[in-house]
Every structure is written in structure tokens, then in C-alpha cells.
């Protein structure tokens, strides 16, 4: 709000002037002009801020001074350049030093809003000038080539809705954990870009090339080795996400996108692809994204994300009431489509098929629903995903049986149970692992 607007607030000012003013100022001035007083201050309060509209401020839902008046009696905010969330909706990611998690429990449907897509980076998010961006493809190719962003966008484009999930996407340990905290390192977007196979044809990949190195231009210059077969099959160099340029946190201006494969292989800010006849054994594919299994063995190149599901409603910290409850959640598999989701409302004794919400896409978050009458007695609810390869999402017990108690923290996808208490409280059921 400008100084002029502040002076005008509370006075009658010509309507034309206000319409010319920025939408933010206009709304505040109108509220002032209509004589609405809040907390003894002219509209907008002493700070001159409009809830949810001024940059960097969101209303406090518990702040009675920000209470809302009848919206039919005040002209609303005028059309603007960028949309905003309702000030009453405040979904946020949950950041740590190395990652930030999607609030799965706050989302509807299967698309993750781009600003809520999970983040994982190894040396922060780089700032890359799209005019200076180049992708180099070399090594075992006929014609080593450099592509600008403009070049990449000239090739025939493709679009695909699919998830990306970090393979280290499991946390447990206490009852008061949300889906975001348990497995918020999975998100879904519509990705737009050029098929890597199109670029492979352009450079003439040598038939004896079996692997390629994907390298990012972040400060970690992060690298992963990928079998060439995946590059021919369905890999994409993505530059678009949900209708706009890919977000910096997701790899602006371009990233590798490998449908169904562990998040780390989807190298962001990609600057170089080197075709080779051997994997490079980079730090990420040896010391990091590998997992201990039985007999001290260490499993390597575990690319596919196994099928998984999570009930996002009801979940902690939601509160439910006796009566009809539509159990909702998402299921996904890196190996194909979700075939079905089974729901138990009696701690795993009986299972029923949930309704899958269309679209049911290959290697994509799929929404499920199951209508259930809760009699108010304490119970446990859980979901189990089955994909079209016949893979059934395992229990923690089955995972430990298969991999041993020393199993590493990657690719852990157990059936997740929520405990419904008699008072309607919903708590996560953490299971012992080590």
C-alpha cells in the first residue's frame, strides 16, 4: 500500500481512481471507504497489509482482528497478474537441510501443485540462465552435439503425467506423523519435453553403448549412470511442468525424467550426457542410493520404484466422527499401472477393493476412494496397492523377511496403518524396523 492509499483509506475517494490503482490497494481502499473498521484501525489494519495478498504475509486463522465480513457487501480483489491461494489455505512443504516434503494430506487428486513438489538436492538449487543453458551429448555417439534450450524445444514434444519419488521415502518412529512426514518425497506433475530417444537418434548412439552418464550443473555436479535401454524406452528431457517452465527446484531449465525410476536418477539441471559401455560407479550409485539386504549384501542399481499406497484421509492430524467416512488416498507403482487398491478397516483381517478414480495412468499416482461406515469403535485402517505386474505392496514384516533386519533405508514401501481412537483421533502406527 502506498502512502497515498494510506491517506485515502477511510476517506471517500473517486471510484475511477481506485480502479486504476493496483488490485491490492483498491481492495484495501474500498474496505476503508465502506467504513469497515477492524480493531479500531481503518481496513487493512495499522500495517497497511491485506491478508493473503500482500507479499509475504498470510493471515493467522486464529487472529480475530482479521475476521471476514460479508463478501457480498465489499467489492473483491480485481483481476491480477498472478493468482494466489486463498488466505485460508496454507499447504506448505516440510523442509530439512537436504529435502522438502510434499503435504500429501492437504492435496486433492493426482497432480501436485508445482510449488508443493518435493525437493531433494545435493548442493542447493542452482540459478541457471536459460540463454546460456546447453546440453552436451557425447561419448559413444557418431556426432557429439550441444543443444541449447531453444534447440530442445524445437524437437517434437511429448507430455506425460507421472510421479517422481525419492527412493529414501520412508520415515517412522512416532504416532504423531503425517503422510507428509512418512512419505512426502513423492509428487506428480505433467512433464513436457523431448524424448531422449529423439536426441539419441540425432547424435547417433553407438549400438555398443550400454550406459549413459547424466550430469547436473548444480554445485554437486551430480551424476548417475543409466542403462541406455531406459534412454531408448521412455526417458525424457523435460523443460515443462504443469503448464509452465519447470521450476528451479525441479531442475530448471531442463531435467532428465525417467518414469517409474528412483528420484535421484532423474538428474535435474542436466548439462551433460556421456554414452559409455560401462557404468561410471558414481558416488550416488555406490555409497548412497544402494541398500543393504541379507547376508551383508549391498543391492545396487535398484532403479524401479515398487508399488505403494498411503491413505491421506483420514490420517494424522485429522479428526474424524462416527458415521460415514470416505477413505481416500493415492497409490502408485514404478513398474506400471495400479491394478487395484485393497482397504482394510479392521486392522488387516478383511480387505475390500477401493474405487480407483480415473485416470489410472502408467507409473502415476492414482487416487482411490472407499466409502465406509465407522461405528466409532477403535480400529486400524490400511491400504495395500497391487500393480499390473501382480506385485502386492508388502507389510513391514514381509520386507524384513525378504531383506533382513539390516535392510537399508531405500525402497522401503510397507503397508501403512492408521489407528482410529474412540474419540476420533487418528494416529500413525509406527512399526519397529531395526
Amino acid at each position: 500500500m502506498t502512502l497515498d492509499d494510506k491517506e485515502n483509506a477511510g476517506k471517500k475517494i473517486p471510484r475511477r481512481t481506485m480502479l486504476r490503482a493496483a488490485a491490492v490497494s483498491a481492495a484495501a481502499a474500498l474496505m476503508g471507504a465502506s467504513g469497515v473498521q477492524r480493531g479500531g484501525q481503518p481496513a487493512g489494519g495499522g500495517t497497511g497489509k491485506v491478508p493473503g495478498v500482500d507479499k509475504g504475509t498470510l493471515p493467522d486463522a486464529n487472529d480475530s482482528t482479521q475476521l471476514y465480513t460479508d463478501p457480498t457487501k465489499i467489492t473483491g480483489t480485481l483481476p491480477g497478474k498472478l493468482g494466489t491461494r486463498s488466505p485460508f489455505e496454507q499447504p506448505v512443504k516440510k523442509p530439512s537441510d537436504i529435502s522438502s516434503r510434499t503435504p500429501l494430506q492437504d492435496l486433492y487428486g493426482i497432480i501436485t501443485p508445482s510449488d508443493l513438489h518435493f525437493e531433494r538436492s545435493h548442493a542447493g538449487v542452482p540459478r541457471i540462465d536459460p540463454e546460456k543453458y546447453e546440453l552436451l551429448i557425447h561419448g559413444m555417439v557418431e556426432r557429439p552435439m550441444v543443444f541449447s534450450l531453444r534447440d530442445l524445444k524445437r524437437f517434437p514434444a511429448v507430455s506425460r503425467i507421472a510421479f517422481i519419488e525419492c527412493s529414501g521415502n520412508f520415515r517412522t518412529g512416532k504416532e504423531t506423523m503425517t503422510p507428509q512426514e512418512i512419505c512426502g518425497l513423492t509428487s506428480q506433475s505433467e512433464w513436457i519435453g523431448v524424448m531422449l530417444s529423439t536426441l539419441f537418434r540425432e547424435v547417433g548412439v553407438h549400438p555398443k553403448a550400454t550406459w549413459f552418464l547424466a550430469e547436473g550443473s548444480d554445485a554437486a555436479v551430480m551424476t548417475r549412470s543409466i542403462p541406455v535401454e531406459k534412454g531408448w524406452k521412455d526417458a525424457m528431457i523435460a523443460y515443462g511442468q504443469n503448464g509452465e517452465a519447470i521450476r528451479p527446484e525441479q531442475g530448471y531449465p531442463a531435467r532428465l525424467f525417467l518414469p517409474g525410476w528412483e528420484g535421484n536418477t532423474n538428474v535435474k539441471w542436466i548439462r551433460r550426457i556421456e554414452l559409455s559401455d560401462q557404468p561410471f560407479m558414481t558416488r550416488e550409485e555406490t555409497s548412497k542410493y544402494t541398500e543393504t539386504i541379507r547376508d551383508h549384501k549391498i543391492r545396487q542399481f535398484s532403479f524401479d520404484m515398487d508399488a505403494r499406497s498411503i491413505i491421506t484421509y483420514p490420517s494424522f492430524p485429522q479428526q474424524v466422527e462416527k458415521g460415514w467416512i470416505e477413505i481416500r488416498g493415492i497409490a502408485w507403482s514404478g513398474r506400471g499401472k495400479i491394478d487395484r487398491v485393497e482397504i482394510s478397516t479392521d486392522a488387516g483381517k478383511h480387505w475390500q477393493k477401493a474405487v480407483l478414480q480415473e485416470p489410472v495412468l502408467d507409473k502415476a499416482h492414482t487416487y482411490f476412494r472407499h466409502l465406509w461406515y465407522w461405528d466409532g469403535k477403535p480400529t486400524e485402517i490400511m491400504s495395500l496397492a497391487v500393480d499390473d505386474t501382480g506385485y502386492r505392496q508388502p507389510t513391514m514384516k514381509q520386507l524384513i523377511q525378504a531383506r533382513g533386519t539390516d535392510m537399508g533405508g531405500y525402497h522401503v514401501n510397507p503397508v501403512t496403518a492408521w489407528v482410529l481412537k474412540g474419540d476420533g483421533t487418528v494416529l500413525f502406527k509406527p512399526e519397529k524396523w531395526k
Binding site: 541449447s148 550430469e215 524406452k233 556421456e274 559401455d277 558416488r283 539386504i293 513398474r335 508388502p394
Partner: protein
């Protein structure tokens, strides 16, 4: 052929078979696509050399130069110890040192890393965290030697270079196996 790396070559062999099986991939997905679109520029060897810092486990890509644990220790104390601890064995978030057989359950270079070339490649591309890519090739050889020595993989006097670094057999390499999960009704 360098068939020594059995672990990775088993995977590679599968991939070769896969390639042969779907060689049609090299044909355009749409029949009227040109064989080449002509977008992009041929990369010059100078452009390639300015970006190509990758090192393969057979040593391909290792630069000339050398370094030993003694010179590495001084560099380590000056540029690495702030995050990784004075000796590398401190319980930091990124502990580097614990020889195979040490009782610690933390993954380190000595008890978990399968290739010595990876130590060189990673330090050179990403370290130190506050000044990535600032070390000389000699400094990286020295630091690699220091960390391998501290993990009881090499002798304190060994001068590492492009020839002997890829020959080092890391203690944990024997534990590595390829992913055997295949979907279907089986939990692995």
C-alpha cells in the same frame, strides 16, 4: 574386454541383450520423421573437454599427477576437517573413516565404497562443500590417498596416480549385487 568388474558387467550384459532385442528403437517413432532434425550444433573437442570430468572405474578420465597421504593430511585439515572432523572418524553427519571390521554401523569409504576411483571423482566434482570444484588434481590425489590410508585400504607412503588408483580393490566391493527385484508376486 575388462571382465574383471563382474558385478557391473552382469548388468551390462543384460543391457546389451536388451539393446539387441529392441534395436528398432533407433528408427523414428513416426514414419515421416526425418533421420535428423538438424537442431543443435556439433560439439567441439574443446567444449567436450571443458565439461568432461567423469572418471570410470577402470581409471578412464583420471588426470595426470599424484599425491600421498601425508600431503593429503595437511589439505584435509585445512579444507575438510571443519565438516568431517579432525580425523574423519568423528561421528559427523558425513563420517568418512571406519575401516572394514570396525564396529561402527555408519557407512564409510572403508566399509561401504566399492571403487576407489569414486573417491577421486566425487571429491573433484563436489568438494569442498563451500568451494566445489576448487581443488587441483594433485590435491585430489593427495586427499584420496589420505582417506584411503585412514580407512586402512592403502599404505601411508603410497603415491596415488592414474595408474595405481583404479587397481585398488576396495574392501566392500565383494558385497555388491545387482538389483534382483522384478515385480510380480514376490517381495525382494
Amino acid at each position: 574386454m575388462l571382465m574383471k568388474r563382474t558385478g557391473c558387467y552382469r548388468v551390462a550384459a543384460v543391457m546389451v541383450l536388451g539393446m539387441l532385442a529392441c534395436h528398432t528403437n533407433t528408427r523414428p517413432p513416426v514414419s515421416d520423421w526425418p533421420s535428423h532434425f538438424g537442431f543443435g550444433k556439433t560439439a567441439t573437442s574443446r567444449q567436450i573437454d571443458s565439461l568432461n570430468i567423469s572418471i570410470a572405474p577402470d581409471g578412464k578420465g583420471l588426470p595426470s599427477g599424484s599425491g600421498n597421504a601425508l600431503s593429503g593430511k595437511a589439505i584435509y585439515l585445512a579444507k575438510c576437517a571443519a565438516c568431517h572432523g579432525e580425523t574423519g572418524a568423528e561421528p559427523t553427519a558425513n563420517r568418512l573413516v571406519a575401516p572394514m571390521g570396525d564396529t561402527t554401523r555408519v557407512k564409510t569409504i572403508g566399509n561401504y565404497w566399492p571403487y576407489a576411483t569414486t573417491v577421486y571423482d566425487y571429491i573433484r566434482r563436489a568438494m569442498p562443500f563451500n568451494a566445489p570444484g576448487s581443488l587441483t588434481n594433485e590435491e585430489v590425489y593427495s586427499l584420496t590417498a589420505f582417506l584411503l590410508y585412514r580407512n586402512e585400504v592403502i599404505d601411508s607412503t603410497l603415491s596415488l596416480n592414474a595408474v595405481n588408483l583404479p587397481k585398488i580393490v576396495m574392501p566392500a566391493k565383494k558385497y555388491y549385487v545387482d538389483d534382483d527385484r522384478r515385480g510380480g508376486n514376490e517381495v525382494r
